[in-house]
């Protein structure tokens, strides 16, 4: 009897510490040579492939390159865990991972830590790709990763209700959007209680995306091109205030402070929401008559801004080559293969991923299947990346902290952004 509690205590305590025991080795700081050399087997490290199309693409590559086969290493389906596994691999300088599938916001961290190598721009089809997506792969002007897919926010709207209220086109500014909503509520009896607008306002990465979009749309920015924080400006305040005031006057429902993509999607598909800021993936489910009450009754447009079209925040993934890998020349060929128009076209048609190749957005086959592609192209062309900072994890937490406090009214916009500026200055030193 006596031993059981003590053993339990000890085991529990060990778990607490073991969970945090992941140490790191200090590096020797050697600069890797710029030339990418060596051919042979490589690995491709990516999050869980839910599409089922990836293996097919790799099989195609392997049949054409029997001496330089690519093996997929699938990590977790959670972005946090993928990042951690890639970092751990880099910290022990293992050559197990060759090509890394990075979220766009990790580029700066991986580049600044020398975990990935600089890529030769002249040996990649950079000019075929949408410029803003390529920019997410750069750190201080140098290219470390190439985009393979992209993502940008779109404004989903109920064209049937707008038409009933006598509005024939999607709003391009915030004031048009809120006025359109008031008109719909006043004139369309079936939509008296509809919620005007929602985005992703829960305290997570989605809030960083939505808050930076609001700030960018008013001509402000979170950090400038050089990575210096610029969030304590009248423009940034005006931008965030659009959302803060909409929460206050009810144009955004109070409950939207808990919204993630999925909660907003349920509302929009259920016909409870007039305007929704959402990624392209909602298009398929909203058009599905089984799942959605608004199939055929909605359309998409670029996001609204303060004085004209807004600025979306970019999502998507970039491929990079691990600094500790062998066979980097093969890896570079593989990047060329994965960014090629044919592979991306197949990916776009089969799984609906937004390509980084610009021409595909006007490709008749792709547009026939995904009618929103032209709007998405405009959105991506006008989009901005999230802050390119090494400590992205801390920066995004700070942005969420400030935006959340401003939106739920516990701090004024002025105070929240002033504090954010101070915090970002320490974080980007």
């Amino acid at each position: 009897m006596r031993r059981i509690p003590m053993a339990g205590v000890f085991a529990s305590l060990a778990l607490v510490l073991a969970a945090c025991g992941g140490g790191s080795e200090s590096g020797d700081g050697d600069k890797k040579s710029a030339a990418l050399e060596g051919r042979g087997e490589i690995t491709f490290v990516t999050g869980k492939d839910t599409s089922g199309n990836l293996q097919k693409q790799i099989d195609d590559w392997n049949s054409k390159h029997p001496d330089e086969p690519v093996r997929i290493i699938e990590l977790s389906d959670k972005a946090d865990e993928q990042r951690q596994q890639m970092i751990q691999n880099a910290q022990v300088k293992s050559d197990a991972y060759t090509v890394l599938n990075l979220d766009v916001v990790w580029t700066a961290e991986f580049a600044a830590n020398r975990w990935v190598v600089e890529l030769p721009e002249d040996q990649l089809p950079i000019s075929d790709l949408l410029a803003p997506t390529v920019d997410t792969g750069r750190y201080l002007g140098k290219l470390y990763a190439v985009p393979v897919d992209s993502d940008a926010g779109l404004l989903y709207y109920r064209k049937d209700l707008l038409a009933e209220a006598g509005i024939d086109k999607a709003p391009t500014t915030w004031s048009e959007l809120f006025a359109a909503c008031d008109a719909v509520k006043a004139k369309v009896s079936s939509a008296k209680n509809i919620d005007c607008y929602a985005g992703q306002f829960d305290k997570y990465e989605g809030l960083t995306v939505n808050a930076s979009e609001a700030i960018n749309a008013a001509g402000g920015s979170v950090v400038d091109e050089q990575g210096k924080p610029t969030v304590n400006t009248p423009e940034a305040k005006a931008g965030l205030d659009v959302l803060v005031n909409a929460f206050k006057d009810g144009h955004i429902s109070k409950k939207a402070i808990t919204y993630t993509e999925e909660l907003g999607r349920a509302d929009f598909n259920g016909g409870k929401l007039l305007f929704h800021r959402q990624w392209p993936y909602q298009y398929a489910s909203a058009s599905d008559k089984e799942e959605s009450k608004v199939a055929g009754k909605f359309d998409v447009a670029p996001l609204p801004g303060s004085n004209g079209p807004g600025v979306s925040t970019l999502g998507g993934h970039n491929f990079a080559i691990s600094a500790f890998a062998k066979n980097k020349a093969t890896a570079l060929d593989f990047l060329n293969y994965m960014t090629s128009t044919e592979v991306q076209k197949a990916n776009a048609i089969v799984i609906g991923k937004a390509p980084s190749v610009a021409a595909l957005y006007n490709d008749p086959e792709v547009v026939a299947k995904f009618p929103y592609m032209p709007s998405l192209k405009t959105a991506i062309e006008n989009a901005k990346g999230r802050p390119k900072v090494v400590k992205y994890g801390d920066v995004t937490t700070a942005i969420q902290e400030a935006a959340y406090a401003a939106l739920n009214g516990s701090k004024t916009t002025d105070a929240a952004l002033a504090e954010l500026q101070t915090k970002l200055e320490t974080l980007t030193q």
Partner: protein, 326 residues
């Protein structure tokens, strides 16, 4: 574990008794050494490595080309002293309060509900198996899953608001999210206490109650004077386990409410957050503090609530020794 092994093929001779006892002990140690080795590897090493890590800090800052300055340096107790002051200090004390608050409220509620569940499971005559199985269902659900389930329940247009006919934003930062975590935690873990308390109940011989009835004890008196004292050893172990578990609570608030929300941030979540941002030194400092805090509370709990258990065991051991010596 420490049962003395009788030496094989060596009949005990009174003259060599002392020597025998010594070699017996040595033999026992030899037999136990693999266990100690495994314990040292899986428990001792991670603990020590964690504590060592907490004395180091990652180099911070970028060089002129924008690259991270690499390397770790020894900072002594700096990671610890920084925890208690400034911005990190307010995050720490907030998390410390949350951890303690969750543990105190959840474990008290779990114990009360758990004992009631045990009494029901013990009493239920018809459909006994069904009642027991259904009470244990929440315990069988993985915590992350139950976090997701409760997240649906606590959505703005979820079941909880529909029943209450309110629009409470349970998963937004605020007092209501604390309540949501406690409700989900109590729902999930009361059956555990119930199960162990039931085991205690089944050990109580029925004739004790019959005797009490003959003496005219009311049901409440029977519960206070017979049931509670007799299930106390089992209950103490159950409560201790729940306490240790709740103190390092992570997954439930993380899944149900989300990370970085002050109202539900626990010490484990803070440590995770720091580790996620590659500050392993600070993360292990948080974990070490939590380790010490848990050790302290566990020790205090065993001293106060489990005193009898240990006392009995000691007394038994002492009497065994005496018997052996005689």
């Amino acid at each position: 574990m420490a049962i003395p092994i009788p030496p094989v093929n060596t009949p005990a001779k009174p003259a060599r008794k002392g020597q025998d006892a010594k070699s017996t002990r040595r033999f026992a140690l030899l037999l136990l050494s693999p266990t100690f080795l495994v314990l040292a590897l899986v428990v001792g090493y991670p603990v020590l490595a964690g504590i060592r890590q907490s004395l180091y800090a990652q180099a911070e800052g970028l060089d002129a080309d924008g690259f991270v300055i690499e390397g770790e340096r020894f900072v002594g107790l700096e990671n610890y002293t920084a925890l208690f002051t400034g911005e990190r200090g307010s995050a720490f004390w907030n998390a410390f309060f949350n951890t303690t608050f969750f543990t105190a409220t959840a474990v008290v509620l779990e114990t009360i509900i758990g004992v009631i569940l045990a009494l029901i499971m013990h009493q239920a005559l018809r459909g006994r198996g069904l009642v027991r199985a259904s009470i244990l269902v929440p315990w069988a659900v993985p915590t992350a899953m139950s976090g997701l389930l409760w997240r649906w329940i606590f959505q703005p247009d979820g079941v909880a608001n529909a029943i209450l006919n309110q629009e409470i934003l349970w998963t937004a930062d605020g007092w209501q999210s604390k309540l949501a975590v406690i409700i989900a935690e109590v729902w999930k873990t009361s059956p555990f206490i119930g199960l162990l308390a039931l085991a205690g109940l089944q050990m109580i011989p029925q004739d004790v109650y019959e005797a009490a009835k003959v003496d005219g004890a009311s049901p409440w008196q029977q519960f206070r004077r017979i049931t509670l004292p007799l299930i106390k050893p089992a209950l103490a172990v159950a409560v201790l386990f729940r306490m240790l578990d709740t103190l390092r609570m992570f997954d439930l608030p993380f899944v149900l409410i989300g990370g970085n929300k002050d109202s539900v941030e626990t010490l484990s979540m803070l440590a995770w957050d720091e580790a996620n941002n590659l500050r392993y030194g600070v993360a292990t400092a948080y974990a070490t503090i939590l380790f010490l805090y848990i050790a302290l509370l566990a020790y205090a709990f065993i001293k106060i609530a489990g005193a009898d258990v240990i006392g009995e065991a000691r007394a038994r051991k002492a009497s065994v020794k005496k018997g052996a010596a005689a």
